[in-house]
Symmetry: C2
Subunit: 248 residues, 2 copies
């Protein structure tokens, strides 16, 4: 499939008149977390001869902010059909410290609306757009210097993701179809950055009523191979929508 | 104390040139929930000869969005020193259906960044600004028609407030200094709009480790008067900041 790129993104006309196409003072940034087999990463772009940053862009005059986020992520990284969750708007007037652009609408202050997503990074294939030299996964604990307040945006996104574990299920697009409880626990531990008690975790997961225990154990020869589970997709989807109700 | 009002808010110059003072295309709306003795309300303004709406306004060019929210709430309702929590940006291009203004920056599309707060409505004294005929508390279940998507904004705010109960303590500014467990339960039930199991609620509250049980019972002559509690302010404040950690 051919990808549409906004070819004018950084040329003179864009710098001066981009606000004919896009809302002034407003941008969108995407924090894409990637999980695979116990590793948590974040997707970064590197401007040609420039700094690392989150994939971001602008909102067209007749476009919803959610649609803009989806389009921007696709244009800048090639990632498609990713469910993005809006989590915070960043609006400190000094957030874009060290901005290079000296004139035109692009030189002005931007409030950015930030979205996050969590994907299996082995299943998506990010590609840099024509303004970037790299588009790559980076370990969340080894992120290089990022432009403006993008590191802060990433930090707040991670906190939002961690908090979401209390209210929403996670894992359907990240785990194999059948998985063991320790494998699921590893996903939670990786996101939370801390180890969890095995028994409490299992008790809590089963109480959520979104798992089906299979009459089948993980093969591999171990003496006490753990049972396999799968998600009950109907219950899982309902919990995504309504929350787990694990609170009150 | 004298209140500063933006006198030009709706005059001709503002309609045409408001973007000299404020960022174009961006607004702020505040959903102020009020609780008192078992009742949950929301603060609404009524434009003179116009519809009901949430208190809202615009962001100055050199102002942070959080500061703008605080200033707007004060200017439009008189409410001061209210802790506002940003919860969502609303950016559907058709959200301002039926907009009256036909020209100038104000006629354009606005993305609104929304904040909420929960206060004791018996302790604050809202007053309408010069553009409003009323500023009043309205029962959350009997809200009249509101302008644009303000009812949807209110609904999402209430869901955010309810979800926040899972992660953050509530009640310090809403309960008397000493209170019984049933009184605290009533607060949670009012916010959640559902009744809770007495034993589970007590168990959960005590597990949060933010309450101090006093060696004192509620007076009033009942045979089995319930014990009084107070918040441990240090632990409460820490939980406000770091979350309750009641999840993982």
């Amino acid at each position: 499939m051919k990808k549409k790129r906004p070819k004018f993104l950084l040329n003179e006309a864009f710098r001066k008149h981009g606000d004919r196409t896009f809302l002034p003072h407003l941008s969108v940034d995407c924090v894409i977390f990637g999980f695979h087999e116990g590793h948590l990463k974040v997707l970064l772009l590197k401007w040609k001869d420039g700094p690392w940053c989150l994939p971001g862009g602008f909102i067209k005059h007749k476009e919803s902010i959610d649609d803009a986020a989806t389009r921007i992520l696709k244009e800048r990284t090639g990632l498609d059909a990713i469910f993005l969750k809006q989590f915070h708007a960043f609006g400190d007037p000094l957030r874009e410290k060290g901005k290079r652009h000296q004139e035109g609408w692009i030189s002005k202050r931007f409030v950015t609306i930030a979205y996050y997503a969590l994907v299996d990074y082995s299943k998506v294939f990010p590609q840099p757009d024509s303004f970037s030299s790299e588009c790559t996964w980076c370990d969340v604990h080894a992120v290089p210097n990022l432009i403006y307040d993008h590191k802060q945006i990433m930090k707040v996104a991670l906190e939002a993701l961690q908090l979401s574990l209390n209210d929403h299920p996670v894992g359907y697009n990240l785990m194999p179809l059948k998985f063991t409880m320790p494998e699921l626990q590893r996903l939670y531990e990786t996101i939370l950055g801390q180890s969890l008690d095995r028994r409490n975790f299992q008790k809590r997961m089963l109480a959520l009523d979104i798992l089906v225990k299979l009459n089948e154990r993980k093969t591999g020869g171990a003496h006490k191979a753990p049972f396999l589970y799968r998600f009950d997709k109907k219950k899982y989807d309902r919990a995504v929508k309504r929350g787990l109700g694990a609170g009150f």
